[in-house]
Point group: D2
Chain length 448, copies 4
């Protein structure tokens, strides 16, 4: 497609064909070394093999073309590698890929890619935490309309709104740490998961190979048990839950009539081919586009993981190849874009204050009701205030004006009382406490 969405440069490289190939070759090299360590092949053979495990020696288009016929990329890779090694040593060539099956190489190569991805995501989640923490501190007291059902509700602050986001981001960081050991695990089982090709040497080679790659050795091969991969994918979608929520909020706050925030405006970005005035929120749009994609992408990964016949599947594995990298790149890209948006976010605190006022004090209906409840009882107070809001709506008067005029109210609340009650700054409840709790959790994870 001509259009190129904003993409994480690092994630794009990480899942690019060259790096994918290199990760698979790293596994072949490690396998040779592990088998040399176990005395299955000679050290010389291992080094001859390892020295050819460099992506730049390979013909990627030929590999891709051959993969179509063979049904996976490891078969032609092994063939090319064997040819390369043969030229140096025919003995070594015989040791290439010894005892392994294609899926061992492809899955473990993927795990090496995912190790880098998790490092990258972790770094970006930390960055996101830092920026959120700074914004929370800056806007801790900045009152704005709280909105529920897309309607004014009661006042919040911009800081507390973002504190909810930071709290979720901290949960994602905790999840990442917990899932990492389940994902960063060697795949090594041979043709059908028994390592029969290695006779009784399977366990020994497994441990040596895991050590070479600094991965955990699994109790059993997981060729047809894709929950490790699905968990990683599900983590991406969990992260996108938060990313999508915040991007949607910012997009809503950017609407012309509300205009409380604006994404940073890169030169030339977000113009229109027809309307000269346009500065479209292209970064937020790209995040929301990503958010529309990931539920469908993980659905594919789920369906594929559910269709794992016997020892190795028919068709269910390849669907993962196509969609998992897209899901990972899409998530990491959206995450990085969100960091950029927040980093350069324009926050219009005047607009926030003005919008608070736009509903004529109605955001404080609950405040008035709670104050009256102490005198009238909760239900009667709720009922009275509800009637006043209806009167405001019907007469076109502000709620504030209606309240001040009302005889019953006057009986129970003094003018000073009312002035206090109708000031949003006085109806922020536990805002500060929530912010401090979240910031404390943030700092407990090493934040500034």
């Amino acid at each position: 497609m001509l259009f190129q969405p904003p993409q994480s440069a690092k994630a794009t490289v990480l899942f690019g064909t060259e790096h994918e190939l290199q990760c698979m070759l790293d596994v072949e090299a490690a396998l040779a070394r592990a088998e040399a360590r176990c005395g299955i092949i000679s050290n010389a053979a291992a080094e001859a093999i390892a020295s050819h495990c460099r992506a730049d020696l390979f013909d990627i288009p030929a590999l891709s073309a051959a993969s179509t016929r063979s049904g996976n990329a490891a078969i032609p890779l092994v063939a090319q590698l064997t040819r390369l090694v043969s030229a140096a040593s025919s003995e070594a060539a015989g040791g290439v890929h010894w005892g392994a099956t294609s899926q061992d190489i492809i899955d473990t190569g993927l795990v090496l890619q995912l190790r880098e991805l998790l490092a990258l995501m972790e770094e970006t989640l930390v960055q996101l935490s830092d920026i959120l923490a700074a914004l929370i501190e800056k806007y801790a007291d900045t009152a704005m309309a709280g909105r529920t059902w897309m309607q004014h509700a009661v006042p919040v602050t911009f800081g507390v709104k973002l504190a909810g986001v930071l709290d979720a981001v901290l949960r994602h960081r905790e999840r990442l740490i917990q899932l990492r050991p389940r994902v960063l695990v060697l795949q090594f089982g041979g043709a059908a998961g028994t390592l029969a090709s290695l006779g009784n040497r399977g366990p020994e080679v497994t441990l040596a190979l895991a050590a070479e790659l600094k991965l955990a050795a699994p109790a059993s091969p997981w060729h047809a048990h894709r929950d490790r991969i699905v968990e990683l994918a599900a983590f991406c979608v969990l992260v996108m839950t938060t990313v999508s929520k915040l991007a949607r909020d910012l997009a809503l706050l950017s609407q012309t009539e509300i205009a409380e925030v604006a994404e940073p405006h890169a030169d030339g970005a977000g113009g229109s081919s027809s309307m000269p005035h346009k500065r479209n929120p292209v970064a937020l749009a790209s995040i929301l586009t990503a958010a529309m994609q990931v539920p469908g992408l993980i659905a594919i990964i789920h369906v594929a993981a559910f269709s794992q016949e016997h020892e190795r599947a028919l068709g269910g594995w390849a669907a993962e190849w196509a969609e998992l990298p897209v899901l990972c790149i899409t998530t990491q890209s959206a995450l990085e874009t969100l960091v950029k948006v927040l980093d350069g976010l324009t926050v219009d605190t005047v607009a926030m204050r003005n919008n608070l006022g736009k509903s004529g004090g109605i955001l404080l209906a609950e405040a008035v009701s709670m104050a009256l409840a102490e005198r009238l009882g909760k239900q009667e107070a709720h009922h009275l205030v509800q009637q006043l809001t209806v009167r405001a709506a019907e007469t076109g008067m502000t709620f504030r004006a209606v309240v001040i005029e009302d005889a019953t109210i006057q009986q129970h609340l003094s003018a000073a009382n009312l002035t206090d009650l109708l000031d949003p700054a006085n109806y922020l409840g536990s805002t500060q406490h929530i912010i401090q709790s979240v910031l404390a959790a943030y700092r407990a994870k090493g934040g500034r």
Copy 2:
């Protein structure tokens, strides 16, 4: 990704960036000519513009890079086109993209691509029909086990099994014809669908532009109404319903223990990096992989189509760009692969006959039961035969043997009767009639 699934060469070109660009340029050229016809720009300007609407004049990587910032590909395309035309005529440059908005160009360009896709799909559906019809005729009488709940049920023929498939393919061809006029429709609305940029000339230009492109002119622009596109996507998934069903059946019939069919074996295809004997059904696997992807892909298109705010959406349109071509290519590729598989399918009619026998005549339990029902009443007959199947299972005898020995049966059915009843060829019911009905429908659509 290194691995390259088998892909339709034509569909890949059709949705390749160069052709995508050319389709957009075809729209710009047609717009210039239409506006010249309406006297809005000069004929000379139109021809100057049209002569530069050639993809080979454009810098595709630069376009892609710029599209990220602008949020779509049309904005940089218009900029490049304007520069190219400027060099020839500054007056003509002023007429480039006159009155249009980016989405007019992108959507109509897509419609031009979809016109070719529909032609390609139609052609492949016809090929599929022809191959199915030939196989149906060839195997009309070839009895095999009918299977329900993945268990032997009653006999069918391979021909009638495929007749069900052909019948579905004929429905798809009918659907294609019906949806075509709803999909092949011009998009032209300007900035917010009012064509205000053309003053009162909008309707006139719309008609001229539609005529240039041989597309229908819509009653209203459909920028934020994506049902035309979703319908096309839904059609792809409908077609995949049939493709997936048949591929799954063939994969099941290819299992080592069943081995009634085998996909054609291209040299070097389907080998294993560890097991020398392997001839994996890679073509069927690729179809099943495709089948796992399309429900997730259309789910994305649905979510995007549902999120079309106001006159043109924030984010919901771009998700379509990413997924629709993948869905179309995936479907057309699976369709072509299925045609190849059927074209070279090995059908082992001996295995079919042998497998029919493997369940010891149990496939004819219903036949015996129906024959007895005329004497004993349906319930009693059903009950008796059920007991005989249980006895067969418990004793390890075949159902056939148990039936022949049973005293009650002997009372009601002669040995000759039983021999007839226990021959699968005598229990094929309306098979021939169904086959002839489907072939008649096929011929009514122009089949041989």
Copy 3:
């Protein structure tokens, strides 16, 4: 679940267990009569059977409980029916369900339900068309902000916005008419689709049964070919595309700061347990909730339809039972709710006008640019106006003020010109034409 979303009363009854049972019984009754017509059972037996095919004679909880063990609802239904008929005539009891398989009854029963659903949807789509047409006429000239990327773009009218919706609704009505004959089709194939249980009488009984039920007779049974059902489901989702789009727009227009529309406020609806002032748009929310559900629901139906092994599937059929009725009820309910919302919609044309003004004339930037383009060339004009919009943003002045003051502008456009250009009513382009085209299409389908 305690919470009950607003649901179509008719659709709920239609897919209720009692009506589901009655539809299956209608098929059994018709089968008996058809077989009597063909001389397979006696007329007396047929009438004895048919007279017991009344849902009120059946024990629904027992049926449900037994269905769990048998794997479908038809098996216990046939057992109960046989018992009921037995009491009247043991001969007739032997004719119950003669030659049919469970799926014949369940699928055809479903088709009878879908026939009613399609009638209901058609009726509601006509109602929706009528209300939209009336609103379009009423608000044809009511200018409001056109919004793209959730930002002010150029003016539109409320009428033309709704014309896009009506145009889509008319497409849905066309689709419904086209798919109906593919959906309203008898299922009748016996155990594995060969009707072997009827010997050579299958075709004859098929025709008689189809005639009894006023359904089309298919060329082949479609037990494992679910495209007919998927097409109906896809149609529901297509309809929801339009329903969701409009509900989202109305929710956005209902936001406190925008407040151009409000859904009708049923007494007691949309309150809050804490905030006395709340009038939440509960009807729109329920439509949007429905819209979030249907893509996932159809994804299930797709996956199920793709997993149709051999003659009748293992597991893939039952997923359809669970999700299809939910999808149908959800769609029809959302459709009816939308009709109610539109029927009582509060439209605040003053707010529309005020909001148009809120962006300080920037909605007319394109208008100024197009006017200047005739003097300065398109690019120069676009560039100049873009600079003016930047100046407006930077100075806090309105675009209107900046334009009027600009020296270059003054050179080319008179004050009167500018006044005209900056009036939204003068920049509505083809709005009237579009509205008239859509209304003409509406009337061509029988609208007032």
Copy 4:
């Protein structure tokens, strides 16, 4: 729907309307007590409220009906509760629901349900582990065909096949323990998450309420941050990955021609309305049906969680209400069904041995190739054996026969060598080690 899939009795009760209501009432009771502890309401009021928080005092149909109008179930619940308490004490009535918002009650009520669900799932996962461990030990040495791409590959044992499943189940148990503290968290934020209604008493009441309910107190309310819920849903789908994989394998192994396993046959289960012999695998089918549903269900939950506007969402929350309980019940039911299937599984070790033989020794092609590789080099050996497999296929001879006859083979391998090589029991590689590793991990988690 008439058909009732097999459902976990406990899960059904747990998510039934009565228990749902009771959980919400438990929250209201705890809130009253917590506020009494904080001195906000009197102890007497708290006890008056708590004593009415019993589901059997409530009119559930009326609640449901009223919930449609109010948009959630808490509003009418609070109204009913207030009326009940009023009758006892009007002072206490004023304290009902003090300071809370509907979502606080609904979400925390849900968390109480999920606490029970997690306990139930944990118990069932332990049961599943125990049954798997017993089967693994019993069938540790039972050789059977390993199958990849749905074709015979190399031998495995039934024990090692199940060891892979147990290993995955142990991972699920680990995940459950890790996610529990993120899910079992109080929701308490008031109207827009600031607890303004409680003045400065919010934090104090939060802690007291969490203590009453034995839930963790969150750093911030999570009304619009649904990742806690999504994580639970994702866990269900992860569990289903394993459940679906095993059920699919068992269904494939149950096919008539393979028949290595059979699900337990409850009396009357799995019959056919037409075929007397049928014993359909209805339990496995129900698991596979569930597996087709959950990816679509979680897709809905994802889309809903992504659409959480501002402080509390419009529509995005209600989609969760509808789908989460279905997802939870579906998962737990499939899990329990799988336990039952395994518990009564018929394993036909003779069929396993026979099927191993059916491919004429081809499963040992790799064994022969690895043995030859030590003499001929890996590539030459692979090539030679591949040719022999082709010869076997072409001549119809068994691979075994072809190998024994081959001159080159005879040169390198003695007859005794070959006999050993062609015995599946000698080509099981690390099977025992893998089994022991998995069983050790199982015992480390407290297994027998």
